[in-house]
């Protein structure tokens, strides 16, 4: 094995891969744009709906006579009162978001300090109708508080008698953006592990089976670069391609989250601390190296491109299982035993990083195991590259 040969192979493979439009699209462009598109659409539609509904609440009111409550509602800028003959039907058809049925004697009841019943007709299967219902309810609440206030004042009682307890909300997470981080801790490990696995795949297929199919493998094997130099040069280029793919998917995710922030409650931490990014990067790199070596081993065993793709697909499913298996585990109290499970450990450690936990034991166990996996995977690749039965399989 010599360094010069490894670098020669590495440089050539990288140039070759980057000139391949298909590889570039699959491993760089798609990861970069898929999240912005996905979240952008998701965010826009949710945001759009909220705006549309809350800015223009189309409601209908059924009441024999005008009264102060109706005047109050009509005075709200975002409420449009429309006429309706059949309220129920119009709500169902979405012509109006809701209908209010106000009793005729409401003014009287209020004056006599009695309570009055108001009926709201809405469609609880419609997001818009639900939202309108909430807004109207709080408006009516506001109105009735005003009524109470007037009543109390007229009796010479302090208004605060009605609110013996004031609630002030405070989120107990260490940092802000808790919900966003939680969402990220669900999504990001999943995405990164899937990319770590699938990222090197196109390159591995091309560099193993592709070399056989093109008939370039035999001349290559008769050069002075030994098989191990070829192997390590290829592994290095696959790793770098996988890394580029992963970085572009992270960038894509960041852009995507920004574009669709409202879909996540608007408080996603857009930028992690450099330490977090580096730590996450290191563990994704480990995954890429394990899978890159495995994929190259399988690919060199295959006789053709097609065969390699067939052999590689089960690997994706295994990887998915590992990633999805930890999807719902809460990183805050993950059992240490779980950090001995391949893939699950990386997924959990990344989750911890995202919510700001740096547990040396977990990091150590996970790192240690993954180094073991890499050594095993590379030994396997070495074995495959040295076997005549593999290289010259008929």
């Amino acid at each position: 094995m010599n360094m010069k040969a490894i670098m020669t192979v590495f440089k050539k493979e990288l140039i070759d891969l980057l000139r391949d439009k298909k590889t570039v699209i699959v491993s760089i462009v798609i990861p970069l744009i898929i999240f912005p598109i996905m979240f952008g659409l998701m965010g826009r539609s949710v945001e759009g709906n909220i705006k549309k509904t809350s800015e223009n609440l189309k409601i209908s009111i059924k009441s024999k006579n005008e009264n102060q409550l109706i005047a109050f509602l009509k005075s709200q800028k975002n409420i449009t009162v429309v006429d309706s003959i059949d309220i129920k039907k119009d709500v169902q058809d979405g012509k109006i978001y809701l209908g209010l049925i106000i009793p005729d004697n409401i003014e009287e009841s209020i004056k006599n300090e009695k309570s009055a019943d108001i009926k709201i007709i809405y469609d609880d299967t419609s997001q818009n109708s639900n939202m309108a219902c909430n807004i109207i309810k709080s408006l009516i609440e506001e109105y009735s508080k005003e009524v109470v206030k007037t009543r109390l004042i007229s009796k010479g009682i302090d208004y605060s008698i009605l609110t013996p307890i004031n609630i002030k909300e405070e989120v107990a997470a260490k940092e802000k953006g808790g919900f966003g981080k939680y969402m990220m801790s669900l999504l990001l490990p999943l995405i990164l592990i899937i990319y770590g696995m699938t990222g090197p795949m196109a390159a591995a297929t091309d560099l193993g089976a592709g070399e056989k199919e093109r008939g370039t493998l035999e001349p290559l094997l008769t050069t002075q670069a030994g098989r191990m130099s070829l192997l390590f040069g290829k592994l290095l280029s696959i790793t770098v391609m996988g890394l580029i793919g992963t970085i572009s998917s992270i960038i894509g995710l960041m852009i995507g989250v920004k574009a669709g922030a409202s879909a996540f409650g608007g408080d996603i931490p857009l930028i992690f601390s450099p330490i977090t990014v580096i730590m996450i990067g290191i563990f994704v790199l480990l995954i890429i190296m394990v899978f890159g070596a495995l994929e190259l081993s399988i690919s060199i065993y295959a006789r053709s491109f097609k065969e390699a793709q067939t052999y590689l697909s089960p690997l994706t499913i295994i990887g998915m299982a590992g990633a999805y298996g930890t999807y719902m585990i809460d990183a805050k109290n993950a059992s240490t035993v779980l950090f001995n499970v391949p893939l699950a450990n990386v997924s959990l450690v990344i989750k911890e990083f995202i919510i700001g936990i740096y547990n040396p034991l977990h990091i150590g166990i996970t790192f240690g195991w993954n180094i073991v996996y890499i050594v095993l995977a590379v030994l396997f690749a070495r074995y495959m590259f040295s076997k005549e039965e593999v290289i010259f399989r008929v």
């Binding site: 040969a5 050539k12 000139r19 002075q224 670069a225 005549e388 010259f392």
Partner: protein
Amino acid sequence: MIQVKGLSKYFKNVKAVDNINFTVSEGEIVGLLGENGAGKTTTLRMIATMLKPTSGTALINGYDLLKEPHKVRSSIGILFGGEAGLYDRLTARENIKYFADLNNMGEKESRENIDRLIKMLDMEEYADRRVGKFSRGMKQKVAIARSIVHNPKVMLFDEPTLGLDVTSSKIVQDFILSCKNENKAIIFSSHSMQEVEKLCDRIVIIHKGKIIEDMKVSDFKAKYGQDLEKIFVELVGDK
């Protein structure tokens, strides 16, 4: 100089190559003639250190292929038939340069050699274009340049004209003759007596892994008469 000594290769219970011996001198073209499955490719792969012999060995340019495979590889150039085996997304020059680099050549030497080969093979016009859209003949020239860029003393050709049209075949045959002029030791494998007769100094007939005849083309004609193709069919037919 190639000395093959008792070389054998078994694949499980198939004796692909069975205890063969022959020598190739410098400036000599030896035709390794045999039907499909006779063991030609396996023999050449062993000489090129791609396959480990089950038993026996060979000296290539004085190096034992078991003891010094690395030195052996520095002494050989191969051109195998079928697909030219190039990287479509690299230019002709980059394809050749890759193999020069892998064979440990210095920058200056490799640049000079590549320029010389590009000129010699008339490839100036397309040397810096990607080979993906090249015609078969253009690709063949690139493969030829690649096989010889590191100045090997020994050349191995495994059915190099397989599937080529007349023009491309001619290019390859001229190249083999030019290697002879440069005093290289050459093995040329083929299943066509006609081609071997035209190019080679000596004929080694291999059949089911064994050598059944090894003599100069002129001696061959003296022994068997002029219709060599017929003789070949008879020789491999009965056994």
